[in-house]
């Protein structure tokens, strides 16, 4: 850069000597005044730098603004989907108000467990000891027995060591009773949980199970019980084809 200067050129050596002389502190009115001015300048400089650090939006360039907008839009989308999720949760909770819903679910679980025979149960009911020295049981007799007990309100039934559930089956193999694939030798015990009076009455009806057993030369001993225990368990198997329809 060529520049016309009003002062005669100074050699670097002179200039450095002058710098050293300037650095030496000299207290004079002018110096102090200059110092006051520089204090203000420094203060203003730092203040402005700090103010510029938190940039307002209108100082940003277009690309920065676009990026910022993208960012905000993406965040808004994320939050929007979160809102939807939380609202669905809230609806679900409102429909089955908390503890009540839990209580209902627990009750349903218990009744299902009893029906499926996966838990031991206790309660009042009847115990029958069936003896038939000559054998001669037919599956029909046993099916009739189960139907009669269920009609009389039996909530849990055990034949010998086997829990009788919805998909139990009964067969005769070599003259021996088979329940769910397990042989049940005579004499065997039948435990049914339910109202003892009704169950006993159902067993006593003419042409019922007791009559049939007597017909093949056996006998049935029926005892009411206040606290009977059905402890045989049925192992629930995972259904192979049936799938629950997902509830919305």
């Amino acid at each position: 850069m060529t520049q016309v200067q009003g002062t005669p050129p100074v050699s670097p050596r002179h200039a450095w000597r002058r710098v050293l002389r300037l650095i030496r502190p000299r207290i004079s009115a002018g110096n102090l005044l200059a110092a006051g001015i520089t204090v203000v300048i420094g203060f203003a400089l730092v203040t402005q730098v700090q103010a510029a650090n938190d940039v307002a939006l209108d100082d940003l360039r277009e690309t920065d603004l676009v990026a910022l907008l993208d960012d905000v839009t993406k965040r808004a989308d994320t939050l929007e989907s979160e809102i939807r999720l939380l609202e669905a949760d809230r609806r679900a909770l409102e429909e089955g108000s908390g503890a009540e819903a839990g209580e209902a679910a627990r009750a349903r679980l218990t009744s299902h467990q009893i029906l499926a025979g996966t838990v031991a149960v206790e309660g009042s009911g009847i115990t029958m000891t069936v003896a038939a020295p000559g054998g001669g049981f037919t599956p029909t007799m046993m099916i009739d027995l189960m139907q009669e007990l269920r009609n009389a309100g039996a909530e849990a039934i055990q034949i010998g060591p086997v829990r009788v559930v919805a998909d139990s089956w009964i067969g005769i193999e070599d003259g021996t009773l088979v329940v769910d694939g397990e042989q049940v030798a005579v004499p065997f015990r039948i435990i049914a949980i339910g109202d003892p009076h009704t169950l006993a009455g159902a067993m006593a009806i003419p042409g019922g199970f007791s009559d049939s057993v007597r017909g093949i030369g056996g006998n049935v001993q029926l005892v009411d019980g206040e606290l009977l225990v059905v402890d045989a368990l049925h192992r629930a198997e995972e259904p192979q084809y049936a799938r629950p329809v997902p509830s919305e």
Binding site: T7, V10, V46
Partner: protein, 110 residues
């Protein structure tokens, strides 16, 4: 020396207090700072050329700041505030450059 110490003291004071710029001062402060810096570099150059004068320095700082503020004010009134501010920054920047170039030439001889 004392003005240098003053500058450092001002910087420290600003960092410690970290004041918020009042709204009315916001458009003027950056321009004022640049104008003051121009005066400071001019002062250093003058000191190297042995023509430094306290009175000139103070007056030049104050007038620089004042004129810069006035230009910004005028620009804001005319609705060309940002363009005029840019113009002022460019001019002051050029002056700072030429002052620094002169200082460099004095100290380094190149």
């Amino acid at each position: 020396m004392i003005p240098l110490i003053g500058l450092a003291a001002g910087v420290i004071l600003g960092l410690v207090l970290s004041p918020t710029v009042p709204l009315w001062l916001e458009p003027y402060l950056p321009i004022a700072v640049i104008a003051a810096m121009d005066a400071v570099f001019g002062g250093i150059r003058a000191a190297l050329e042995a023509s430094f004068n306290d009175k000139v320095f103070v007056v030049s700082v104050l007038s620089n700041v004042l004129v810069a503020a006035l230009i910004v004010l005028l620009g804001n009134q005319l609705g060309v505030g940002s363009q005029l501010s840019t113009g002022v920054v460019v001019v002051l920047g050029l002056r700072i450059f030429s002052n620094v170039a002169a200082i460099r030439r004095h100290l380094m001889g190149a």
